[in-house]
């Protein structure tokens, strides 16, 4: 092995092999997936999301939620994800068509979020949770995201979008209210939109018992 061409082409070819398999193939095959038509309503799965929820992905990304929260439900019997209620069915490639980026995640320091919008559809719950996680779940180790909220004095009527039901040391004192920033609203819209409970041809919902 004393010659540059031999080493050069060797390392080139071995690497090109995996590049074709794990990059070029998904680029063409997975990248071409289309939403599945929903025969009942004429809509599509996965459903389109609102602009606010799409913007929420940026906030999710900026604050690194994925370092603790995965978004993938693995199939049984490889895993017990479905038995543990992370979702009704395995998540498949088509579920992530509209994700930008696809927050698959590699850690579950916190619960999986594939279906958080099914488990917690109430935006106010999410605001309370993000503002002060331990006021909702006392053993939570999630950091507070109070920096996405503003505490301010109530001027006349309380704001419509003020977070209600806050308790704990950071709750608003009388005469004050906590209002979410645009980022907080977008993030919560995104979290509530995470509902992978629609059927797909390659991953149907289990029969209702």
């Amino acid at each position: 092995m004393n010659r540059l061409p031999l080493i050069f082409f060797g390392v080139f070819l071995t690497f090109a092999f995996s590049w074709l398999g794990l990059v070029v193939y998904p680029y063409f095959e997975l990248g071409r997936l289309q939403p599945a038509p929903d025969e009942d309503t004429g809509g599509y799965f996965p459903p389109t999301t609102t602009g606010l929820a799409t913007a929420g992905q940026k906030v999710f990304s900026a604050n690194g939620c994925l370092y603790c929260h995965s978004q993938q439900v693995r199939f049984a019997p490889l895993s017990t994800d479905i038995a543990k209620g992370l979702g009704l069915r395995q998540t498949v490639a088509r579920d992530y068509l509209r994700a930008q980026p696809a927050f698959l995640g590699t850690m579950r320091t916190g619960p999986d979020l594939s279906n958080i919008g099914v488990r917690q559809p109430d935006p106010n719950w999410h605001h309370r949770h993000l503002y002060e996680p331990r006021s909702v779940t006392d053993w939570s180790i999630m950091p507070s995201f109070r920096f996405l909220y503003q505490m301010r004095e109530i001027q006349g009527q309380p704001s419509d979008d003020a977070v209600s039901g806050l308790i704990g040391p950071h709750a608003s004192p009388p005469g004050f209210e906590v209002v979410p920033s645009d980022d907080a609203k977008a993030l919560v819209a995104y979290l509530v939109s995470l509902q992978r409970n629609y059927p797909l041809p390659e991953s149907p919902l289990p029969p209702v018992k």
Binding site: F8, F15, P26, A102, F147
Partner: protein, 484 residues
Amino acid sequence: MHVESAIAPNHLTVQERAEIDASTRLPVLVFFGSAVFWLLVGSLLGLVAAWQMTHPALLDQMAWFTFGRLRPAHLNTVAYGWASAAGIGVGLWLMARLCRIPLVHSKLLVSAAIFWNIGVLVGVLGILAGDSQSIEWLEFPGYATPILFIAYAFVGIWAIIMFRYRKPGHVYVSQWYLLAAFLWFPWLYATANILLIWQPIQGSAQGAVNWWFAHNIVGLWFTPIGLASAFYMIPKVIGRPIHSYALSVIGFWSFALFCSWTGMSHLIGGPFPAWMVSVSVATSAMMFIPVVAVAINYHMTMRGNFDALKWSPTLRFTVFGAMAYTVASLEGALMAIPSLNTITHFTDYTIGHAHLGLYAFFTMIMFGAMYYIVPRLTGWEWPSSAAIRWHFWLVATGIVLMIVSLSIGGVLQGLAQYDPQSTFKTSLDYVTPFRWVRGISGFLLLAGQTIFAALFLAMLLKIGRRREGPALFVAPDAVNAPAQ
């Protein structure tokens, strides 16, 4: 036994060697110096992030220091600021030595080093400011990565030109690995940046490209540089050639063939066609071949010379790293087995594995290489062997403690998450005590590294008494004296 293979550099006269070393001095020292700086910064970021896992209120009102920003800032600082820069420095020096020619136009490489550091600085500040891409190992915002790429282009082109104009004679195993790393990195980095950041591809295909990249930047960028350094330092310090040329060849080509396929083992059960995951699981198992070939080669070279670990700092760090490489790779192969992966996936165990690879293996080998190279660049000797000893034992204890605690905690966490009867809280209760231990281990690492940084600074500023000979832990007996 292929005698030439290890002692080829010795064909140089003392003066030629000094000329080559002098030609690499400035760029290599700039890469090393900035690397050591980022190592301290990155470790501090990691330490705070580690304590946030047990103390969630820590710095929680400062958006810049929320866990989800500190963690990627830590990873990218140590991966690009420390490990890549240290690896480039070691790689360039080794390449010049092994090609037996001085580095020409080295000032351009100094500019490359400065550019590289600007890229890292912009990237880390970008993450902390809220522009993280949240794509693991690739969080630097799109405005930082082109700077890194341009800086790297100089380094890669220089390395290949050096190889092209090498003095005739044997091409040593370290050069194969270095050449491969210098060719693989731009391909990896460009592909991942184009497909994930500049023109993102659709859906879950991003996950495949992400982990193809993330696994390969460790496997095909850091690892070959680390192995190249160990293949050079071990024979050099003990003064005998690498045991087997044939094993080196087998180890290299099987590594090249299998390693680049293994990334999907980070996504077992994920939303991908089954064959993509299966091929990664299979190639992970095949990685036994290169790993065992390299391990046997190192071990047989060291056999009968383990005494040298008592006196040589370079060897002690390098052999620690080489052993950790074997453990890390075999552990990686086991973690890819689906029935085990279902427990360790999504847990702290993965974090332990990452530190085993990037710290216990790569970083320790970089320390070892720096202990060898820096005196040859500055013409000064390490001022204190006691301080080197402290550096070694603090980081060695720290990293073992970190990996063991993360691994045990991770398995318990994974078992709780697997058990359908157990609640999520149980998984946290199990892992929390181990996270405290991990947090403490971070202090040991930071302390050891601070000692190293102080030693490095002393070398640059030529502080301390000028030593007669190299800084060894104990005086070696005459038989084992290193060939200087």
